[in-house]
């Protein structure tokens, strides 16, 4: 990575962009699965049983992490742009990351 990018708020930007991209690409699949309910409970259940396997649960916690980190990172940006200026954005970005891990771990703990 280029040296000038090696600063915390660039990483915060990158994480926000990549998590957003990941979520955007996951959404069509998410919607497709839910629409299976149109064809009756059996179709949806077939998928849900597949998703109960440990590996898929881990992958799901990854998605939960992406969603949480994008939420917290996005709230940070809304605050940056709309509230009086704060010089603590490196701390806020770190807190957003920690919050993302916290939520994803909470999900994992409940899933198993």
């Amino acid at each position: 990575m280029k040296p000038h990018r090696q600063q915390p708020l660039y990483f915060a930007f990158l994480l926000h962009r990549l998590s957003g991209l990941g979520l955007a690409l996951f959404l069509p699949f998410h919607f497709y699965v839910l629409a299976l309910a149109l064809e009756g409970n059996a179709e949806l259940d077939q998928f849900l049983h597949w998703s109960a396997s440990p590996l898929v649960k881990f992958a799901e916690s990854g998605l939960v992490f992406l969603l949480a980190i994008h939420l917290f990172g996005g709230l940070r940006l809304l605050a940056l742009e709309n509230l009086p200026w704060s010089n603590s954005h490196k701390n806020y970005a770190a807190m957003a990351l920690a919050g993302g891990f916290f939520v994803a771990c909470g999900f994992l703990l409940r899933a198993f």
């Binding site: 040296p3 000038h4 990018r5 600063q7 708020l9 660039y10 915060a12 940056l80 742009e81 200026w85």
Partner: protein, 230 residues
Amino acid sequence: MPQQSSQTILDVVTWIQRHLDAGLSYRFACRVGMCGSCAMMVNGIPRWTCRTHVNKVMRDNSLTIEPLRNLPLIKDLACDMSEFFEKWTDSKGYFQGSTTRHDPVSTLSPNSPQRRVADAATECINCAICYASCDVVNWNRDYLGPAALNRAWSLQNDERDSASAERLSVVAGDAGCHQCHSQQGCATYCPNELNPTASIAGLKRMVAKAYVRGELGAGGKGRQGPESDA
């Protein structure tokens, strides 16, 4: 080359020109961090070379000195600064008064909130370090960039300035403040510790308010070439 105490990057470049390569082209003037002409990439990071000490930035006993990023190269370490200054004028980065010499001198309180905001953004030396550190400039060649927008924000908060509406419509243009992703590379590397990201956030709010109130002109005429979006 001989190492000396308090040796700056500019000293190194000058030594190279005097002893190794007389044809080496680079730019400097004041040597004391006032003029903003000697900025270069030092080990990949944009810095004012006259105030950057070698022993503070040397990594593994080596230094890589390159011309500023995001600007066309003329020769060696000298960049063409035209687009940087053109964007400055495109974004109406100059004071436009409405009074004449016959009017009384306006009185300004240095303590008014608006004046404090304007002052906070005012000490720019046009070194283009923020411009070189900005990824949005790199991704969108039309983007006005941190220095020009920071200047625009300062002027928007100058109560004597009379071009506020026109300036706002330019910074609200497709190459304007909304392109900024708040990565804060500009604020990280600004040698005068200005924060263009904070200024741009202020412009975003100002534009949003004007848009909602229907006060935003058609604007955005500066640098809207065929490359920019429909």
